[in-house]
Amino acid sequence: MTERDTRNASKGWVPPMELDLDRAAPVPAEEETALLTGSGDPADLLPAPATPVRTTRRLGRWLFGALAALVLVALGFDTADLLARAFATSLALGVLVALLAATAGIAGVAMLVTELLSLRRLRRIEELRAEAGRLEVDAPGGRADRFAGSLVALYSDRRELAPALARVRDHVTDAHDEHEVVRLLDREVLSPLDRAAYQRVLRASRDTAVATALSPAALLDFAVVLWRNLKLVREIASLYGARPGYVGSLRLLRRMLANIAVAGVTESAHHVAVEALGGSLAAAISTRMGQGVINGLLTARVGLTAMHLCRPIAFGPDNRPSMNRIRKELLSVPKQVL
């Protein structure tokens, strides 16, 4: 029951009075237990975000689904066929083929399940971020504990975060409003993660810069950069609790392409080049070096965007990660390499 409901439930004015002690329950009872035990399942705690219906996407989904089903059916027939033929040849071969088929089937299902789970985690984070945003704007009363419960549940199996979570549980009282609870979680739980994530971004962008600068062939450094970026995105996502699978990573990457502006990353590659090369020492260094710095900067952007996308509470104006340190670090790479 939110505060607004309370007011609307009856326009009648209630005079100040004392009430029955035994009928009073702490506010808001069920959510507080969720917070204390960290056992809130966000799927049923949080209202599902309203998704706009898009027919084209739905058509695509139907197409994809139908094709997948066809392939599955075909595979099934083929396998059955194969089995029959193997058994006809010899029993040993039949058993072997059956075993192989079973292993493949089980592994496939297991993979599918983990992918689905990872997708759910990712979606959970997105929902959390949306909810945090809503809590920041208007505080409807009594929802912050739910939010906290969901966030705590997200990180409950992380050993290194246990002290921070315990601290939050310790600090949050019934007197904190939603804004304060969100801020507290942000400070206590997420800012250490931010620092770790930033370190990884820093390391990855140095890696790509150095690798590009030293690599003998353009194709090779393209591969290295691609691989390093993918690895970085997965690292950051796992750090914030998303642990994406393959599909999840792809989805993240797609989101990132759409969202690359979030990190304050509006400049194009050209802009980046000017920024990197226009500096005092840039003109002097070779194109390889310049290329390295550019790739490093790009990696950093990818990393920072990933941070924005994977964080359950959006960055505020004073804690958003900045490119400055990375930029400085990268501009010193040529000196180190030379």
């Binding site: 439930a9 009856s10 209630v14 100040p16 009430l19 002690l21 506010v27 007197a175």
Partner: protein, 460 residues
């Protein structure tokens, strides 16, 4: 032998560099909650277990806090241990109203945030100086701007209006029998001052929380009990000739201003760096429209130095050093948590003028609803098919907890809607049991955020 010398020299030098001092003024009318606030603040700093919104704590840079000898040896020490024992002892009770000034220093050790500072000395120290005094003395401040004639007119005017007219009846009766132009008799002066003091005491006892009690030393004399300086009272009519009763009273009034008021404020207010103004908004609501109006007037008067256009004497009094002012509505634990926003909005309206003026002078201003010592929990209960958010705590004088719906502050409308004669009933709650066993410090509401606003930039 030389090397240790050098070392200690280095130590002294870096201490000079990194040991800074900040004087925080805790201002408030009587019963606003100054003493409890200072006690809770110091206890929380010493135990450091409940201040998540203080950046230095949450970033793990805080080392420890300790009580240190206060800077002014001639000022009595704030009885921190006594007040804490009262609040946390086996029979928890509130501290007595403060009778005199008290000072205290807490030193905070922390690791500086900037790498540069850390290379000079890995550990920095901030001395936090706090002063507590009887709230009655605060209202002496506006006297400095008033002549005896102005003050007399104003006080007489106020005393003749309800709810004070009954309380002041005997003093005003006496006034009617004397002639201010008659030659000054010490006996008459004493009699008038005694009656006037009785009236002020009656105001203080009144249950409508009357805040406007001037001069403060008449009811809380501190170390000046029975001094001749305190034998005057407002008189009717205009200035009279030399040797008259009026002249005598005026002379004493002026002497009071120079020797008591000016000294007190010069010694304790002029050197402040930060200021927190505690306001018992809920107490005023409890007292009804009359109490609210009285508090509003008292606030306006005591905040007058902050008003725009009077910066000349603001500078004289406060220096221009105060660069952050926090207005805090105290005792927020008297209402359920969801009402804090409304309390703050009400406070905003109450101090709006002063706030703009202070902003104009270039200082930062913030408002908050706080409780120095959280004595209640928010609970929900059902009443006539409606969910009510209430507070649960043990009222003073009882030993069983109760659930109280104290009335709700409306969101936009007037705090006193017409046609409802007692919309609020905030019972005083006593401190919860067993506070002494909690190693984390006294429970509070937003004292950490208050501290962050007041001291955050010193602790970087």
């Amino acid at each position: 032998m030389r090397i240790p010398d050098l070392n200690s020299l280095y130590d002294a030098g870096s201490r000079l560099l990194l040991e800074s001092t900040v004087r925080v003024g805790v201002t408030g009318l009587r019963r606003a909650g100054k003493t409890v606030f200072v006690t809770a603040l110091v206890d929380n700093l010493l135990k450091a277990g409940r201040l998540p919104f203080l950046d230095v704590m949450s970033s793990g840079r805080f080392q420890a806090a300790r009580l240190r000898p206060q800077p002014d040896p001639d000022v009595p020490r704030f009885d921190f241990e006594g007040h804490l024992a009262a609040l946390t002892g086996p029979d928890p009770h509130w501290p007595e109203p403060t009778r005199g000034i008290g000072q205290m220093r807490v030193s905070l050790r922390y690791r500086p945030e900037s790498a540069l500072k850390r290379t000079v000395q890995p550990m920095a120290t901030l001395n936090l100086d706090l002063v507590d005094y009887p709230g009655e003395w605060l209202l002496d401040l506006p006297l400095l701007r008033q002549s005896f004639a102005e003050w007399s007119t104003q006080t007489l005017d106020l005393a003749a209006r309800p709810p004070r007219d009954e309380l002041s009846a005997s003093w005003r009766g006496w006034l009617a029998t004397i002639d201010p132009a008659a030659s000054a008799e010490e006996e008459t002066a004493r009699r008038g001052a005694a009656l006037y003091t009785d009236y002020l005491h009656a105001c203080r006892r009144a249950d409508t929380l009357l805040s406007l009690i001037q001069p403060g030393r008449f009811v809380e004399p501190g170390d000046m009990k029975d001094a001749p300086l305190l034998t005057f009272c407002p008189l009717q009519g205009g200035p009279r000739g030399r040797g008259s009763l009026w002249a005598l009273m005026e002379e004493r009034y002026e002497a009071y201003k120079t020797n008591v008021v000016r000294r007190f404020f010069a010694e304790h207010f002029s050197r402040l760096d930060r200021q927190i103004v505690l306001i018992d908004v809920l107490g005023a609501l409890n007292a009804g429209p009359a109490g609210m109006a009285d508090m509003k007037r008292a606030l306006e008067l005591s905040l007058e130095p902050f008003r725009h256009g009077s910066s000349g004497w603001l500078d004289w009094l406060f220096g221009s050093k105060i660069d952050r002012v926090l207005f805090a509505a105290t005792k927020a634990d008297h209402i359920a948590a969801h009402q804090h926003a409304q309390l703050r909005a009400l406070l905003d309206r109450l101090v709006g003028d002063a706030r703009n003026a202070i902003r104009f002078e270039g200082a930062q201003v913030e408002t908050m609803a706080i409780a120095a010592l959280k004595c209640t929990e928010s609970v929900v209960t059902e009443h006539e098919g409606r969910q009510l958010r209430c507070v649960r705590g043990i009222p003073v004088g009882r030993d069983r907890p109760t659930v109280l719906f104290p009335g709700e502050i409306p969101e936009d409308a007037e705090a006193f809607p017409p046609g409802r004669d007692r919309p609020y009933n905030f019972l005083p709650f006593r401190p919860p049991d067993d506070l002494g066993r909690d190693p984390r410090g006294l429970p509070h509401i937003r004292v950490d955020q208050a501290l962050q606003f007041l001291l955050g930039d010193y602790l970087t």
